[in-house]
């Protein structure tokens, strides 16, 4: 079936969608007011620069609904082929899921369970190390609402929300007036620790320029200072930051009524990874001896937090979960997609709303291009290009309803702007799951 034969909303009627949700980044701001003309969003009130580009550039693509080896095929034929590929594999992997609804994520996990595969999400190359650290030292957590209403000390570490999460400052962490912060920004002390003096630094009271790959040492020194341990002044040689500045920072942290550390991939992607994050989480935990303190990861994609939540409440673990033995096994490094691909273990892949052919290492990409793949994506990507079976899907939040999780684990409903001729990820995955079960039951 070609795109022309699919039902399309041809109305040119002007429509206003209030309280719509932007799903571009992990802030998932749910106060959008969208002006929709036919199949196009023409205004996105309250959206940031990233949100506007998200809403204005997701038109109806002129792509076939489904292809096999690049050739357009009817939807049912593509579903049949996808089911065959996944059933024939001995080490199938499911990957992606950070840019789709939680309802679709749930079906993807079910498929992986039926075929005895490995489920992993883009979290493993994002805040996966933070997920490991949570298990190691725990997470002193809070909601973005608590940060807005209570946090008089905000420390950003290894992140750049001014460019990655443009409304984080104005909506939650820096500018808004809160219940216990009647003067907004004036009532807050803001600090950035980073190796680059990014645009985020301009919005801060203090900027500490850290030498690359010394996050762990810095966090450990801060823990020591807080605990009254004498720290060697040579810490400046390692971290680039003088000891007296670190002592001053700890004093400010202790003086806060409610402090929060928000950290990014400067910690998780650098040498040390989960150990870096563990050190920062332990610092936040320690600070609760003196005042109230929390630590939160800044999450990137619109529903990557949902992926963690849904995989966790389905399997007990947040990512990198193998279901081949009939029960879940969690082992980052073994069941994470970078590894299963780079080591050449996976023999088929179901990839939903992500682009590992652009983002993964050379050996991982090389192997992915050799195995049969089923790919769901609203837009053409390097991964969709090499797919054995490719489905063009509707864009979540713009075309489909559902649920996403904000970066503080709060679920938010989606209010779509206009209908797409393409099916949703959830519908496509449910069709594949149904066909897999039919085949499995017929073989009994």
């Amino acid at each position: 079936m070609s795109i022309a034969e699919l039902p399309v909303d041809k109305t040119d009627e002007l429509k206003i969608v209030k309280d719509a949700t932007c799903t571009f980044c992990g802030c998932v701001c749910d106060d959008m007011e969208l002006t929709v003309e036919g199949n196009k969003i023409t205004k996105a009130k309250n959206a940031c620069v990233l949100g506007k580009s998200w809403f204005f550039n997701h038109h109806i693509e002129d792509s076939p609904e489904a292809t096999i080896a690049g050739q357009p095929v009817p939807f049912e034929e593509a579903v049949e082929k996808a089911a065959d590929i996944l059933l024939a594999a001995t080490y199938p992997i499911t990957y992606g899921l950070s840019d789709t609804t939680s309802e679709a994520q749930r079906v993807a996990i079910a498929i992986t369970d039926w075929i005895g595969g490995t489920i992993d999400t883009t979290t493993s190359v994002c805040h996966g190390p933070s997920g490991m650290a949570f298990q190691g030292v725990g997470e002193v957590t809070c909601s973005l609402g608590e940060i807005k209403n209570r946090a008089d000390f905000v420390l950003f570490w290894g992140c750049n929300p001014a460019e990655g999460h443009p409304r984080h400052f104005t909506r939650y962490s820096l500018m808004p007036k809160g219940q216990f912060l009647p003067n907004g920004r004036k009532d807050r002390t803001a600090v950035l620790i980073d190796v680059r003096k990014t645009k985020t630094a301009r919005a801060m009271d203090y900027y500490l320029q850290l030498k690359p790959r010394s996050d762990f040492e810095l966090a450990w020194a801060l823990r020591g200072i807080a605990a009254g341990v004498e720290v060697d002044p040579d810490i400046e040689q390692i971290t680039g930051i003088p000891l007296d500045m670190l002592e001053d920072l700890v004093s400010k942290m202790k003086e806060a009524k409610f402090g929060v550390i928000m950290f990014g991939m400067g910690l998780t992607m650098t040498r040390g990874k989960h150990i870096n994050t563990e050190a920062v989480l332990a610092l936040a935990r320690d600070m609760n001896k003196y005042t109230r303190f929390a630590a939160k990861p800044l999450r990137g994609h619109g529903n990557v937090t949902g992926a963690d939540n849904i995989v966790a409440w389905s399997t007990g673990y947040p990512f990198g979960v193998n279901l081949n033995r009939g029960y879940p096994r969690f082992n980052p490094g073994e069941f994470t997609t970078s590894d299963t691909l780079a080591r050449g273990e996976a023999d088929a892949a179901l990839i939903i709303a992500s682009d590992p052919m652009s983002n993964f290492s050379n050996p991982a990409r090389e192997h992915l291009s050799k195995i049969p793949t089923v790919v769901l994506d609203p837009k053409l990507s390097e991964t969709a290009k090499i797919a054995t079976v490719a489905f063009t899907s509707a864009t979540y939040g713009i075309n489909t309803p559902g649920t996403v999780y904000r970066m503080d684990d709060v679920p938010i409903p989606l209010r779509p702007a206009f209908e797409s001729p393409y099916r949703s990820d959830q519908t496509i995955l449910t069709a594949i799951e149904t066909r897999i079960r039919e085949k499995q039951l017929a073989a009994l």
């Binding site: 204005f56 190359v125 400067g266 992607m269 980052p332 590894d339």
Partner: protein
């Protein structure tokens, strides 16, 4: 002669907006392929904005245009590039048991192309 630097791949606002316009648009491809170098390092290496530089490590090699980073955003010895195909080409497959390859703070060599 090649010099050793530390490369930080990361996100930028322009990368985010051009990504939505499409991964095959000129704006996106330009953003993810342009290497940012601080002014002092640009001068020492005799580089001007738009010059091609060769950058490599034990994993791979890329040749990309460079530009001077804004203000004091980068200290000497540090390079920045937006995430994408070029930064991935310098990323190894080993995750040291974490699931996450070393993706920031990469040791690289650089010389004018």
């Amino acid at each position: 002669m090649a010099e050793e630097f530390i490369l930080i791949p990361g996100r930028t606002s322009k990368q985010g907006t051009t990504l939505n316009e499409g991964k095959y648009t000129d704006g996106y491809l330009e953003e993810i392929s342009t290497l940012q170098i601080c002014e002092q390092d640009m001068q020492r290496l005799g580089l001007s904005d738009g010059d091609q530089v060769r950058m490599w490590n034990e994993i791979g090699e890329v040749t990309v245009p460079c530009k001077t980073s804004k203000g004091d955003e980068l200290p000497p010895g540090l390079l920045f590039i937006s995430y994408g195909m070029w930064s991935s080409a310098l990323m190894g497959g080993d995750t040291q048991g974490s699931g996450m390859p070393d993706s920031k703070g990469l040791d690289v060599f650089l010389e004018p192309a």
